[in-house]
Symmetry: none
Subunit: 77 residues, 2 copies
Amino acid sequence: MVDPDSPEQAYLQVANDLGRRIQAGEIRGRLTSERDLAGEYEVSYGTIRRAMGILRDRGLVVSVHGRGTFVTRASGS
Amino acid sequence: MVDPDSPEQAYLQVANDLGRRIQAGEIRGRLTSERDLAGEYEVSYGTIRRAMGILRDRGLVVSVHGRGTFVTRASGS
DNA sequence: AGACATTTGTACGTATGTATG
DNA sequence: GCATACATACGTACAAATGTC
């Protein structure tokens, strides 16, 4: 979930939460689809897209068109 | 509301009132938008802007473009 | 080949909010 | 008080890639 009372932007809250969970080893392999993540975090698809872009820039995940988004090998615990 | 018969300037009345309510813990998280505050205090938007600038200078709030103005953590009760 | 489902990718329009003059 | 610009966020629709049956 995202805290609307936080000054932190929604897409950053999502990116930081996912990044933390990835580095903690909670998430491995394939991530939940972007649209499903939008439902889980209760934000729009565009917000998830933006958060994913940040995770890709950080090198934590790679996205494959038509297949999904995957945790990179070095990112886990 | 603002007292037009007071010698204190309108933007100072607003800033002081909001500052008092923040430090009393009445306001936390996200503030009402600047446009709505202008309606509540029955002053112009510019007056609210000026009052907000004072609250920011005092470190009571932070404003985030496109998201809102937020009470800083240390400001509440 | 074809049909279908799933998923990422792209592109709108709309609403709301701050920033500035 | 108003207009303009910019940023965030939402919602939707459609396109493109992949895999399965």
